[in-house]
Amino acid sequence: MSEHLSALIVVLPLLAAPVCLLLRQPTLVRIWTSLVAWTCLILAWTLLGRVETGGTISYSMGGWDPPLGIEYRLDALNAYLLVIVTAIASVVFPSGTILTGTSLPEGRQHLYFAALLLCLAGLLGISSTGDLFNVFVFVEITSLSSYTLISLGKDRRALTAAFSYLVMGTIGGTFLLLGIGFLYQVTGTLNMQDLAVRLPDLLQSRTVLAGFAFLMVGGSIKLAVFPLHQWLPNAYTHAPSAVSAFIAATATKVSYYLLARVIFTIFGAAFVFDALHLHWLLLPLALMAMFAGSLAAVFQTDLKRLLAYSSIAQIGYMILGLCMASEAGLTGGIVHLFNHALMKGGLFLAVASIVMRTGSSSVAGISGLGRKMPITMAAMVVGGLSLIGVPGTAGFVSKWYLVVGALERGWHFVGILILLSSLIAVVYVWRLVEAAYFGEPEHEVCDVPWNCWLPTWILIGGTLVFGFWTEVTVGGAAAAARAILGVTP
């Protein structure tokens, strides 16, 4: 059975979702969902170990060898990503705050868990498939389930946020489909490896160029790269809190992976950066995202919206790593991907706990909570410090690698701008600290039970642990960076 793991990791959550509809009993469904997430984490961990020792794993669905059939292909990059996604899922799904802020009536909560599992299955599918059209199918599974999950927020604005996301997301998905069609038309294949073999002879073709453009734009919409990010703040703000935690920590990461895969595996860095000079387009966008996102975050009055704008800035950092196209830069980008998943997941879960106790997620509402909910607010502060990139937290490690990467390429101004934008992060994190510890308490509340703060602290604790113990994160990310750059260690 063990050679089938790379198929099972996707199939398991995909088939676990319909089981939710048969079980129906809410407690049963919650336990089931958590069990599935944990099993997926174990599978992902095993797969990562296998890839590290045995190299790339290829699996032919239906026994048809690629390019005839659909191939699942795991290398250091996506095995690493699978661990991130499943780890976040296995912390968020069992969390006691999972139902906070959903508008679902009693007795229909199993649908919510089915949607969560489908979203997980979609993300894992995008991460591990080696077939471009299969990517589209799983992108749509992820998207449709996220629209549903977001629309379940309590506020009616969740509905309009979900609708705008649906429109943007479908345009993005259809752009991906167009890009795939263009590439398919000139090569006759949908398999990524096969495309990588066939494309170098065709790079002069205008069809290939347009195909590349549509894949990039489609992927960027899904990733919320700077000018295409408008759907993100509303979606993260109005979604049920735990859903924000899950989606913020995983969905953008997987879209980032998709862009990296298209650039480095299918087209190759030489074409994208040396011939097209894409970094001169991406670099300004990344820098603008860093500043515009952080600045917007400073002025928000809602915690979730603040975190959402901070996400836009963090996506900027990751894109920065992408356009350096060097081992240090990509390592920085990928480590930041990992760290950002931990801190944003943790921070959104902390907000979920606050919403659970105070009923709102406004910045004013956390006034004085430092004394009332000490465990949750401490997590909030540590997560904030990591967002800034204070030494000793994981956020420092990834920014360090990004600065090193920038200096390596001779982009000194980029290094300085990274430091400057971190200073803006100090401002918005300070606002939270000020309100929580120096304000007068508005609510007479006590802290949340252990099953709510423990998941938060697992993720936030991770940012502390991986601030010192960088072997695993940086080691894994460097291996992933080498794998997609095609460098042999």
Binding site: M1, H4, A7, L8, V11, L14, L15, P18, M61, G62
Partner: protein, 148 residues
Amino acid sequence: MSVKPPMRMREKVLLRVASQVFIPLILLFGLYVQFHGDFGPGGGFQAGVIFAAGFVLFGLIFGLEALQRVVPLSVVESCVALGLLIYGGVGVSCLLRGGQFLDYGVLDHHSSMHGQHLGILIIELGVGLTVAATMLAIFYAMAGRGRT
């Protein structure tokens, strides 16, 4: 969509008689499309749509309650799930028989061609079931909205 109380419809004998002729025909056509997919155009998805159309027609003529007495919502919900599980189940049984996921060839030890036939037949059934049930669920959801 608003499903009006079926009182006025009931008087329309012609409509009821015609529907009693047509609904079985529609369902029969659905079955034909389901099992004829190997030979001509069609398959599980199209069959599911046609099948659902038959039930929806019944609902429109005899009322939503009558339809829900025939096919309760809980059954529809289970069928939505079952279809996908049947599909996945075929894939898993291929694994158990020593093949790759969804490698139907191993379903029949004597002839891989037979196995492929069998596999495609069953997965198409799964697709048809999920599609028909989902369409019906959407109809229930929207029709239920109109009356409150």
